[in-house]
């Protein structure tokens, strides 16, 4: 019974990043403020980049792909656009993971800048060139900037969660 409880609690904490990812993809809750549009940011990008870099087994690529499809259906984009952008970002994170010897939040943050820039460029060009959908690139650029700025803050919170997951696993 005690072992079952320990396993359950450990499993629950490991599922939190996945739950956040799907909650953000499914629900209307997001971080695009109508009255403070300059403050909008993309938490999904941070979740994907951080957890693929830190521990890719927590956030499976299949789930990232699925979250992208759900996000496209909810927002009304051609199905597959978000999946590609999320997977490209996950690709950057996985690549950096293979190259990094000593991981640190500051280093991850620096690498996050070109990763999100390329990812959002892919997103913008697919919509603009292949589907002729107009996208407010200033809002997209602002969103990218705020997401980059908030990465270390959210990264610190995820660091705590990551420690809890490791501790719980080893209990």
């Amino acid at each position: 019974m005690v072992s079952f409880r320990k396993n359950f609690v450990s499993r629950f904490f490991s599922l939190i990043p996945l739950l956040i990812l799907f909650f953000l993809a499914f629900s209307e809750v997001d971080f695009n403020f109508e009255k403070l549009s300059f403050l909008s940011f993309n938490l999904i990008y941070i979740v994907i980049f951080y957890w693929v870099l830190k521990n890719p087994d927590i956030l499976g690529y299949g789930f990232i792909f699925l979250a992208g499809i759900i996000n496209d259906v909810i927002i009304g984009l051609p199905i597959g656009v978000s999946s590609i952008t999320y997977l490209v970002l996950a690709g950057f994170a996985a690549y950096v993971r293979y190259l990094t010897v000593e991981p640190s939040l500051i280093y991850d943050w620096i690498v996050f800048v070109p990763s999100i820039a390329v990812t959002n460029s892919v997103y913008f060009y697919i919509l603009r060139i292949f589907f002729d959908i107009e996208v407010n690139y200033i809002a997209l650029a602002l969103n990218t900037g705020i997401t980059i700025l908030l990465y270390p803050i959210i990264g610190i919170l995820f660091n705590f969660l990551s420690i809890i997951i490791i501790v719980r696993k080893n209990v």
Binding site: F26, S27, Y61, F65, I74, I79, G91, E134, V135, A139
Partner: protein, 283 residues
């Protein structure tokens, strides 16, 4: 950090081709799957549309359920806020009511006169339309794309292109219809272009959505004398929408004419979809 070319290619291969311990798919396989899905978007076949419609219906309903806790908190905070604003609004409403009473008498006279004139031009049914009231199921407030999802689809008779009203005000048109749900492209979306009529001058123009800012008025007549505060209606040109549906008022922002909408597009809850076609339009 590894710098040699071989190590670079090994890292790229490992990142995109290697499956993790618990991963079932490689990144490259999923990227290819996404590209295939995107390519399928260009194909318009009956069976694919049916699958898309089912997937979208399921996702929208799940999204509605997933959004419930968040919506509940928002609704409670809005109610509390409204409670504190009631007295202030009461005073404003009281003075407005007095003004409206005066206007009502004037309008009654104009209405009678208008009916008489309509009979003369044999156009009495132009503004009579049937509508269906629907609820906004999902309103993902994206800063890039402005649209909402309604809880009725082609099972309720909704079709692509139908105009959507918030009370008496025009707010958008249906761009996607599923069996149980449909998507409305709002008039503030960058991809929205609507033909409008500006009164009392009678100018025709195109209203283009700009995202968060009020919509822009384009293709105004040369040497126009447009005044701030003029009313903007749907023009009905092309027979897509009924003419005369109110949209907003003209305002001047940074030396350009914009339209401030009558309806608050971020607060849509119950909307009416006009299901009948205007007289003279081709089905």
């Amino acid at each position: 950090m590894v710098t040699s070319r071989d190590d670079f290619s090994i890292a790229v291969r490992s990142a995109f081709l290697k499956k993790g311990v618990k991963q079932k798919f490689s990144l490259l396989a999923l990227i290819i799957a996404s590209i295939i899905l995107l390519s399928l978007e260009a194909i318009d076949s009956k069976s694919l549309n049916f699958v898309r419609s089912v997937v979208k219906d399921v996702v929208y309903r799940t999204s509605f359920i997933a959004s419930m806790p968040g919506n509940f908190i928002t609704s409670v905070s809005t109610k509390v806020q409204n409670y504190f604003e009631v007295y202030e609004q009461y005073e404003i409403v009281k003075s407005k009511l007095q003004q409206l009473e005066n206007q009502k008498n004037q309008i009654n006279y104009l209405k009678i006169e208008n009916d008489k004139l309509k009979k003369v031009i044999d156009d009495t049914n132009v503004y009579n339309y049937e509508s269906i009231t629907t609820k906004v199921l999902v309103d993902k407030k994206s800063p890039f794309l402005k649209s909402v999802i309604l809880n009725k689809g082609f099972s309720s008779g909704l079709k692509k292109g139908m105009p959507v009203l918030d009370g008496p005000y025009f707010v958008g048109r249906i761009t996607e219809v599923n069996y149980l749900s449909s998507r409305v492209l709002l008039i503030n979306d960058l991809n929205s272009k609507i033909s409008v009529l500006i009164e009392p001058m009678g100018y025709q123009a195109i209203m283009s959505g700009t995202g968060d800012k009020p919509a822009l008025l384009e293709f105004l007549p040369k040497n126009h004398q447009l005044e701030v505060g003029s009313l903007v209606y749907t023009s009905g040109t092309g027979g897509i929408f009924f003419p005369g549906i109110p949209i907003g008022r003209v305002e001047l922002i940074e030396k350009k004419f914009h339209i401030k909408f009558f309806s608050d597009l971020s607060q849509l809850y119950l909307v009416n979809v006009i299901t009948s076609k205007p007289i003279g339009s081709e089905q």
